[in-house]
Amino acid sequence: MNNTILTCKNLVAGYRIRSGFVHAVDDVSFELSKGELLGIAGESGCGKSTLAFAIMRLLKDNAVIEKGSIIFKDRDLASLPEEEVKKIRWVDISMVFQSAMNALNPVLSIGDQLLDAINAHRDVSQKEAFDRAIEVLKLVDIPEDRFNSYPHQLSGGMKQRVMIAMALILQPDLIIMDEPTTALDVVVQRTIIEKIQELRKMFGFSVIFITHDLSLLVEISDLLAIMYAGRIVEYGPAEALFNSPLHPYTKGLMNSFPSLTGPITRMGGIEGKPPDLLKPPEGCRFQPRCPKAMKICEKEYPQLKELQPKHLAACFLYTGADKSD
């Protein structure tokens, strides 16, 4: 049996603005198997959130999916009519948003909001809905008596846990988490991450985890995709990416996190800033900042190639030998 639950193929999505089309997600392909955690890392503006919203079909009005397909359980989310998407959204794919502070309705108690999610999708009695809501709250360690609390009465970590409960409530197969811990303290972040891992073991759902904190991603994800300026530049098992990063951008990112216990070495980071996605540079998009840029990088865009088993990178450093003369 095929274990793949989500296949993204050559996805192109972006925003139409007055001065042109912003290629926020450009030719992105990946596969996600059941129960896996895919980490997507990159700087702000690299298109990682747009990708998440495209999969959820929650893009804003001025945004479009131009090309490509998002196959989820044999159906193409990219071209499905809105009515059909509504049946899948939250039931099969749910999302934990970046700012729990703003994602919850401030004038409804968290219990009412959880009940809302159930009643919108399932035809169940009030009692059943209530029991399910209490059950998911317990799963994320929020005591029953908080059911009638309003969001402002909860701490940041608790609100984020309510968001996770909300995402779990219909037992989806895939949860997209868009920077779920960025606004939180390290200790709270750790408890949330441990909760996610525990729930994943219990229910076996897949996760797409989006963040810019690479050191966290390396630790928790099975697969890791590094995005830069709308494209995936490196993709592979998290451990392989950490131990032997191939793309110069990945190397630069890895170099941006000082080690906690290892020896202290002077680190570089990456100079410059990401390109304007209205007019992305010809050729490799990282080339203007790349310490190892070659002539060919200015003209052609390198394709993702499997350089080591299951470890792909888009860089001429490894494939350019036959073309560079």
Partner: protein
């Protein structure tokens, strides 16, 4: 080694402005004592609400301490200083703020923003000298060529560039001490290292001392000579950076360490044994403020506040264990 800054038992309580809680106080800083050597980088780490920013604000005299002494360059700062002295102090002690977006006046060009410290502190004679100095410091923070930036408004700059302007402004008046309050926490990952390296470089070339406030343990270790760990307004551990991280003594430091993301320790991680939040600072827990969350808690912990004791070379901790 001469000490540039000494805090002795500094306490800061904020009155609570609510009818029900009238007469109560938020204990933001309690009995904070430390000394900063000349040319040293001292990092203060802790969760939000641990009092690290209050500490910086008390040193910067944005707040006046409730009790305790702040001694700067051998002279105790009195509660009320004549304006001239106050100005002199602010020239010597500059601050870099966390939010590069909020710290710059959006209606002024970078040139005007950079001019202010020179005008306020009456440094440099005449336009040309001031302009030269501004150009010089902008180049030092990597905003080259300066002419491209002086005419720009803050909204035309990226986050990293804005933080560079902030840093340039702090260094412009040749201070002796810089208080940096989470200067990299709002920046993009790829910018973080270059800003940190630049601050270290400027620190060397200008010979300033640094109080570096952060919640990022790895960053604190990278930047600093010594680390202070604060929790609920009190110092829990203080010592050389490497010792505090690699042979931490206080359970809270260990908790912070195990919570920090770090790929190397990935699988070897000791699972967190403590949950819970930072306690209410209006009614702080009796005894050790960490005891409700501490995995090694004993009966005595809730009775009285442990004293700071020596646990190694220049390494002190507030724990009865």
């Amino acid at each position: 080694m001469t000490k540039i800054l000494v805090l002795e038992g500094v306490t800061k309580h904020f009155p609570v402005n609510s009818f029900r809680k009238h007469g109560q106080f938020v204990h933001a800083m309690d009995d904070v004592s430390f000394a900063l050597n000349n040319g040293e980088v001292l990092a203060i780490v802790g969760e939000s609400g641990s009092g690290k920013t209050t500490t910086a604000n008390v040193i910067a005299r944005i707040y006046k301490q409730t009790s305790g002494k702040v001694i700067f360059e051998g002279k105790e700062l009195s509660r009320f200083m004549p304006r001239v002295e106050e100005l002199e102090y602010h020239k010597k002690v500059q601050m870099i703020f966390q939010d590069p977006f909020g710290a710059l006046n959006p209606t002024r060009t970078v040139g005007r923003i950079m001019e202010r410290p020179f005008v306020i502190h009456k440094i440099g004679r005449g336009r040309r000298e001031v302009d030269e100095k501004i150009d010089e410091i902008l180049v030092q923070v990597g905003l080259e060529p300066p002419i491209q930036f002086t005419e720009k408004f803050p909204h035309e700059l990226s986050g990293g560039q804005r933080q560079r302007v902030n840093i340039a402004r702090a260094f412009a008046v040749e201070p002796d001490l810089i208080l940096a309050d989470e200067p990299t926490s709002m920046l993009d990952v790829s910018n973080r290292m270059s800003i940190m390296n630049m601050m270290l470089f400027l620190k060397e070339s200008h010979g300033v001392s640094f109080v570096y406030i952060t919640h990022d343990l790895a960053g604190a270790r990278y930047m600093s000579d010594r680390i202070i760990v604060m929790y609920a307004g009190m110092i829990m551990e203080i010592g050389p950076a490497d010792r505090v991280i690699n042979s931490s003594y206080h359970p809270y430091t260990k908790l912070l360490k195990s919570a920090a993301p770090s790929p190397e320790s990935g699988l070897k991680r000791i699972p967190l044994t403590t949950g819970g939040d930072i306690p209410s600072l209006i009614n702080p827990p009796s005894g050790c403020r960490f005891h409700p969350r501490c995995p090694f808690v004993r009966e005595d912990c809730s009775k009285e506040i442990p004293t700071i004791k020596k646990v190694g070379d220049h390494h002190y901790a507030r724990c009865i264990l």
